[in-house]
Symmetry: C2
């Protein structure tokens, strides 16, 4: 096996290091987070760190890295309290990835990509049209990670919209039926095509 | 589209709710976390919440849900300061999933599954033998999430071991070459077979 020690990691060129460390932890979710500023400018940006925090209350968290973006997403959430989480379908991969480009706050990524805004009753922030799963989120709380000044932002699920054929009788959302992407590292996208479900496990006697 | 409001979610049967909320956020990583108590009992448990926190220093975090496990993993990390993160290969799916069963602290999951312990120089905690990626972690810091008493535990990468053929010339670890699993919800595993890498994005002129 190839071995990298902490010293090796310290001495790697920057790009090699961020590729290795971002890809070695495993597959990540692929989500477009939609927001709108108080002044009415939409924003949509791709994130790979959305994580389940709890089911009751229904909470999802994600990490914002202070150095990597002009933080429109964070600023809009703090201004308005709301955001959307939308899944990346195979057909919008290229445009979804382009939202990682650092645009000024005055420019909406919806205007420079083929991604389309979708509005739902009761909400002023945009969902991403045709996303197979769209979730309306309300800001709940945040934590500043001392080690590197990253922010963990936690929100509560207010509404879930999903393509009906993904939903199984027991509430399971079958992502593999929807050609939804998963992220490997900084820039690689994979589309899992099938899955197997295993039973709830109890200790062996 | 199917729509679930916050009220609908509140009123769902427990199992339906945890299936829906755990599967609606997107694909998750599949990792076996290995630890050993001071008294020498090994533990290995599956987690789907390992997330990249930063590359320099190289930090990974994961969430521990207080109600779901007899918290051997957490207790061992707090006792010893060290743990391992190992990727779940297709061939060990069933045994990896079985580690979600609630075993008493006196029982090692390595003794009740076909998973094998692997020890490396300088570390007393077990890696998982034959895992295509094995990472030695040192405890760094933790945060208690007020909303539901979940713990975010952050560690620093000390050593990375990986199958050499997964490593691309720019440091990218190509998980799809290794039949590594991703998790959908509580109990579904998918194996992505290929990926596409997209370029670093800059604003369009």
């Amino acid at each position: 096996m190839k071995h990298f020690s902490l010293n090796d990691i310290h001495e790697m060129p920057h790009l090699y290091k961020i590729n290795l460390i971002n890809s070695c932890s495993g597959y990540k979710s692929a989500n477009l987070i939609g927001t709108k500023s108080k002044s009415g400018i939409s924003n949509v940006a791709i994130f790979s760190s959305v994580t389940h925090i709890g089911s009751d209350p229904a909470l999802l968290g994600f990490f914002l890295r202070p150095n990597t973006v002009i933080r429109n997403t964070y600023d809009n959430i703090k201004e308005t309290g709301y955001y959307t989480i939308n899944h990346v379908h195979k057909s919008i991969l290229t445009d979804a990835h382009h939202t990682s480009a650092k645009y000024d706050k005055s420019i909406s990524e919806f205007d420079v990509t083929l991604l389309e805004e979708d509005y739902k009753k009761g909400y002023h922030m945009p969902f991403v049209k045709h996303a197979p799963v769209q979730i309306a989120m309300k800001y709940h709380e945040e934590y500043r990670i001392k080690a590197n000044d990253t922010i963990l932002l936690i929100g509560e699920i207010k509404d879930v919209f999903l393509d009906e054929h993904l939903l199984e009788p027991d509430g399971f959302v079958n992502l593999s039926k929807a050609q939804i992407a998963t992220i490997n590292g900084l820039d690689a996208y994979a589309i899992p095509h099938e899955n197997i479900r295993l039973e709830y496990q109890r200790p062996k006697r």
